[in-house]
Subunit: 395 residues, 2 copies
C-alpha cells in the first residue's frame, strides 16, 4: 500500500489480504472501516477501550468475504469515529484523518478513514457504514462518491452495531463506475430498470447554504439532462427539524440498547462529543424513542408511496462544505443538527442514497444526493454514473 | 321514471329496461349518455345529422350489459354535447340540460345530461364518457361525484369514439358509495390497497380562482385526515398551458381521424363551438399531433413514476364554478383552456380521477379531484368514500 499520508488507516491494525485470482473486481484494492471484522485481528471500533476489551475476530465480515471473492485486494482497516457515533470524523485517540480535498476542514464521519483513503487515492473502494449520514457526509466533505444502500440490502454480518434499525453497509469510490461495480458484488440481484421523475426537495435546498445550492446547479442540470426537468416537491410538511429530532431520539434508544451494556460494564473513555451523545442516549426518554419509531412508520409509508413508482429525490448531501477544524463543539453540533434533518430522510425511510461530488464552495467539496426507493440501488448506481458522465465528473 | 324537469334525457330516445332480478345493483336505476348503444334504438351522439345517418344499434354497449346484469334498471339515454366535443354542456339541437345545482349556469359537458339527471335525482348512476374532462367538469359544475377511470380499464365497446387514445367510460353518482358500487361492477378486479402520500399540485391550485381554492379547503383537510398532511408538489414544469396545448392538438388529430370521414361524407350542421373545433381538427398540423403524442409519452412516464407507489394528487377539478349561461363564446373558450390544462394531467397520462362535490362558491358547486396511478381505481373510489364521510358529504 502507498504511504498513508492522510492518516486514514488505523495504526497497529495493518492487514493485507490478496483477493481471489480472478473476479470482476480483480486488480482493485479496498479498505474497510474498523467496525468490520477481519479474521485474526481485533476490530477496534475507534476506541482504545473497545479494542482492549474485545478478542481478535474469528472470521471475516460478510462484505470482506464478498469483496475478496470478487478479486479485490484488502489493503487495510480505516479509522472511524468512536463507536461510529459522530459526523465530523474526529478521533482523539488515533488522530483525525486529513481531508485530502480540504486539509483545513474535517473529513466527515463516522467513516472518516475510508473517505480519506479513497480521496487520497490509497485504495479504489472503501467500506464505511451509514446510520445517520456516516458515509454520505464524509463523501460530500471529501469530494468522492458514496452510497448509503437501502436498509437491509447489504449484509452487516461481522460489523459492530450502532442503531440496527438504521445501520447500513455503505461504501466510497473516487469514480462512479467503481461505486457501481462494488454494488454489483455487494447488492442483492434486481432493482434495475428506469427511474424517474426527478423531484427537487425544496426544503432540503432551502436548508443548504445559498453558495452550496449554487455550486450544485450544474450537477442538478446534468441530472435533469438524464431524467428530465426536476419537479418541485416537499417531503416534510412537519419540517426537517422534526426529521432530525425523531431520528436522533430513535437512534439514541437503539444505540443505548446496542452499546449501553458494554459501556456500563467497561466505563470507557470517550472523546468530546461522543461522550455527550452516549450520555444523552443513556438518559433518553423511551417515550421519545417510541415517538421516533412511530414517526418513522408515517414517513416510511409516505416516502415509499412517493418513490415506489421510480421517482428520484435530489438535494444537497450536506448543507455546506465540511466545518473548519477550528469550529467549536457548539458550531459542530449546529452543523450536525442541520445536516441530519436531511440525512434522516433516507435514514428514517430506509431509502437508497448516492452522493456525487458535484460541486465546490471556495475550493471545498459538496455532494449532490440522488435518492430512490428501497431496493432500487442498482438502478441508482447506474443513474449516478450517467449523471457523472453528463456533468464531466470522474466516471 | 320521474318527470325530466331539467331536460337531461334525449327527447325521442325513451327507453326503459329492467335489470336482472338479483344482483349487487338491484333496486338502483341508471342512465347512459347517448353515445352508448342500446339495442333497438339509434345512438344519436348529440347531433341530428348523426342520428339520421346511423341505423338503430343492434346490441347493447358493454357497460349497459354489465349494469343490467348487475341488477340496475336502465331508465333512459341522456343528452351529450355534439360528438362529445365540448365542455359547457350546450346542445343547441336538443336543448342544454339545466344545471340543477346552479340553474343560471351551464351544466358542463360533454356528459351534460348524465350529470343533470344524477344531480336532479332522476337516476342513481349515469354513464358518461371523458376524453378531455367530459365527466369531471360536469360533475364539478353540478355538485356530484364523478370518475374518469384509468384509460382502458372500462370497456368502450358499443360507444362512439372521439379520441380513442384518451376516451374513457366514466360515470356519475350523487353519493360516494354509489360511485364505488358501480365501479365494483364496471372495473376489472384488483387495484385495491393503501394509497398515499397526498400530493397537493401547486400549479393546479394556483390555476384555480382564489374563491374556489378557499371553498375546497375543508375537502382538502378531510383528505389529509385520511392520507396525512399533503405534501407540496409540481407535475408540470412546462406549465399547464403546455399540457392544454399538447392535449388539444393530439386530441384534435384523433378526433378528425375518428370522425372526419363521417363529417366529410355527411357535411353535418354543428352548433357554435363544436363547429369551430372540428374545423380546427381538420386543419390541425399532423406534426403538432405527433408533438402532442411525444409529450404524452414524457408526462406519462413522469406521472407513473410519481404515482406508481401509491401517491395521490389533489387539486380543484375545475378552476371555478360553471360559467354563467350568458357567457360569450370567447369567455367559454377561455374557461375551456384554463380547465383543460388541469384535466389534461389525467387525460394525457391515463390516470384515474375521482371528483368529490366538496365546495360551493356563491352557491355554485366546485369539485375536488383525487388522482391516482392507472389501475388504482378501486382504491381511489374507496378513498373518495372515506374522504366524503370525513367531510360530511353524501356517502
Amino acid at each position: 500500500m502507498a504511504e498513508d499520508r492522510v492518516g486514514a488507516f488505523v495504526p497497529g491494525a495493518r492487514v493485507e489480504r490478496a483477493g481471489a485470482g480472478e473476479g470482476p473486481l480483480a486488480g482493485l484494492t479496498f479498505a474497510v472501516k474498523d467496525l468490520y471484522d477481519v479474521a485474526g485481528i481485533v476490530t477496534g471500533y475507534g476506541n482504545p477501550d473497545w479494542a482492549r476489551s474485545h478478542p481478535p475476530a474469528t472470521s471475516d465480515a460478510a462484505v470482506v468475504t464478498a469483496l475478496l471473492e470478487a478479486g479485490a485486494r484488502l489493503v487495510g482497516k480505516t479509522k472511524t469515529v468512536e463507536l461510529a457515533y459522530g459526523l465530523t470524523g474526529e478521533n482523539v485517540w488515533y488522530g483525525t484523518p486529513i481531508n485530502p480535498a480540504a486539509p483545513d476542514r474535517f473529513p466527515g464521519g463516522s467513516s472518516c478513514g475510508s473517505a480519506a483513503a479513497v480521496a487520497a487515492g490509497l485504495c479504489d473502494i472503501a467500506m464505511g457504514s451509514d446510520t445517520g449520514g456516516s458515509v454520505r457526509i464524509p463523501a460530500s466533505y471529501c469530494g468522492i462518491y458514496g452510497i448509503r444502500p437501502s436498509w437491509g440490502s447489504v449484509s452487516l454480518t461481522g460489523a459492530c452495531p450502532l442503531g440496527p434499525a438504521y445501520d447500513t453497509a455503505g461504501w466510497f469510490a473516487a469514480r462512479a463506475s467503481l461505486l457501481r461495480r462494488a454494488g454489483e458484488i455487494l447488492l442483492p440481484p434486481g432493482g434495475e430498470g428506469p427511474l424517474g421523475p426527478l423531484l427537487k426537495v425544496q426544503e432540503a435546498w432551502v436548508n443548504a447554504d445559498p453558495a452550496t445550492a449554487a455550486a450544485l446547479s450544474d450537477g442538478l442540470a446534468a441530472t435533469e439532462s438524464v431524467l428530465g426537468k426536476a419537479l418541485s416537491a416537499q417531503v416534510s410538511p412537519e419540517g426537517l427539524g422534526a426529521f432530525y429530532e425523531h431520528f436522533r431520539c430513535a437512534q439514541a434508544v437503539e444505540a443505548w440498547t446496542s452499546l449501553g451494556p458494554w459501556i456500563e460494564a467497561t466505563d470507557p473513555s470517550f472523546g468530546p462529543g461522543v461522550k455527550e451523545r452516549f450520555a444523552a442516549a443513556k438518559a433518553m426518554d423511551p417515550a421519545k424513542g417510541e415517538a421516533g419509531r412511530a414517526f418513522r412508520r408515517v414517513v416510511q409509508a409516505r416516502l415509499r408511496g412517493l418513490l415506489g413508482g421510480g421517482a428520484v429525490l435530489v438535494y444537497p448531501t450536506s448543507p455546506a462544505p465540511a466545518p473548519l477544524l477550528t469550529a467549536s463543539l457548539s458550531e459542530q453540533n449546529a452543523v450536525r443538527e442541520r445536516s441530519m434533518g436531511v440525512t434522516a430522510i433516507a435514514g428514517l425511510c430506509g431509502l437508497a442514497e448516492v452522493t456525487i461530488p458535484a460541486g465546490r464552495v471556495g475550493g471545498a467539496p459538496v455532494g449532490l444526493s440522488l435518492v430512490a426507493a428501497p431496493g432500487r440501488d442498482r438502478a441508482l448506481l447506474e443513474l449516478a454514473e450517467r449523471v457523472a458522465a453528463m456533468a464531466g465528473l470522474p466516471v
